[in-house]
Symmetry: C2
Subunit: 277 residues, 2 copies
């Protein structure tokens, strides 16, 4: 028997999340993989790509939360994927997380917010037009690799944004086909698997993309994927790249050292209680 | 600007719905197609196959509600598909609707409930094991037709359950393939399109099915589809047929006159308010 808890649903470029406010950490033991899967099931549950438990760093027993507290973070994003596994960090999820903190009056949007994740403390800024920005760290563009999908293959750019990406530039996004098949690649290039972005240049610093996420399949948006595409487009020159995903537009500010600042929307949609009754 | 309203989410064999309690009919003007699409969007909204507005027959201006009231119905199921269009009736949705009425103390589950729909007044009964039964009317088995999907074709049984079905008996459900393509059929057989069920006999009166819904694609469950398969399996003999859909098991009690009583689960999952804030 689980306790009744409050949740909120939100999304960033259609990457959607259930937020579970658990400021004092008391729901930690309840949030087992089975419950996460049930909550995220699109038909039997509420439905989302993942669950973001909102807990004070001081109330979490995760070593990453203690480290983040030392780096100035008050809040810890305890991120669970829809399949019940845990994740380090998500560039779309952390904006939705920050939006919750703002809506609940837990942070001052006039100031940067330091948020703890399993990938370290991240700095979120409130940008213009209701968008938020997050420092995604430093990425690096590698050499050319080869990627196959659905019986076709393409040359691709190897990009490391903390996780492994292959960026394929195509003439039209439809060229990638229905993306049904498992991607083929040289395991020597990507020993831990690979996320694949198909990208079409739409301007000097503007690009449209589709993304095939490792272990998930094609998705509406991917924050690190947008960063990977922006790095490949920037080609070593600093500046802002607009990346249009199927779920909406993101902006990536690429620094001269490869530092990536991801800016995009974050919207809270609904709130409620679970389970019913 | 829409008002903030309360909603509940529930499902019957993974056919999921948002219930909007609107007992006095005051939200009627708000529930425009755009809002229905927003609510049902799986990522930008809460997510569901449809919206069931719960309104007293006496507070609805739908002529079907007035007719249902004459037939003894107190409550009217104002059914909206996820795409914003309206629908007549849904065998899974009406059980979820009745479950809401029960949970809110608006009906006595010891008695049959008469519920108004655009397809007339329907009688719902509370069955064993948390299931509910609904009288789905009289269906009829027709002749043999031909159905093509994904470059293959099969002989099929034409079944009319109030809407048009073609039931294809196969050796294994995987035989139908990924069901990506638009179905092919003779428009003389199905002038209004066709719902297609692929079915495998798993016992004397037990069958597993996949369903391809007209205008939707493959779905987890379809109440009238389960009835169509049961009629085809029964072959004119009365009795109960168990129909296992991808979303769960349904039972169809077939009468000697072709009357179909559909029995299955209905679960309320969560509740909340919309929009946020």
């Amino acid at each position: 028997m689980v306790a009744t808890f409050r949740w909120l649903k939100g999304h960033g470029t259609e990457n959607d999340f259930l937020l579970l406010p658990d400021h004092d950490g008391s729901a930690h033991g309840e949030l087992r993989p089975e419950l996460v899967r049930q909550l995220c099931h699109r038909r039997r549950g509420i439905g989302a790509d993942g669950v973001l438990r909102v807990v004070r760093c001081s109330a979490s027993d995760d070593p990453a939360a203690a480290a983040a507290a030392d780096a100035g973070a008050e809040w810890f994003m305890d991120y669970h994927n829809a399949d019940g596994s845990r994740s380090q960090m998500c560039g779309n999820g952390i904006r939705v997380f920050a939006r919750y903190l703002e809506s609940a009056g837990l942070v001052d949007p006039a100031e940067p917010a330091v948020i703890g994740t399993r990938d370290g403390a991240k700095v979120v800024l409130w940008a213009d037009n209701g968008r938020l920005s997050v420092d995604m760290g430093v990425g690096a563009v590698g050499g050319e690799v080869k990627i196959g999908v659905g019986g076709r293959s393409w040359p691709a750019v190897h990009v490391d944004t903390g996780n492994p990406h292959a960026v394929v530039f195509v003439e039209a996004l439809a060229d990638a086909g229905p993306l049904l098949a498992s991607p083929e690649y040289d395991p020597a290039d990507f020993p831990d698997g690979v996320n694949i972005e198909f990208a079409v240049l739409t301007g000097e610093a503007a690009v449209a993309m589709r993304v095939f996420e490792r272990g998930v399949g094609e998705t509406c948006s991917c924050g690190t994927g947008a960063c990977a595409v922006a790095l490949a487009v920037a080609g070593g020159r600093p500046g802002e790249v607009t990346v249009t995903t199927p779920g909406g537009a993101l902006a990536v500010d690429v620094g001269s050292d490869g530092r990536m600042e991801l800016t995009g929307p974050a919207v809270l949609v609904a709130e409620g209680t679970y389970p019913f009754g």
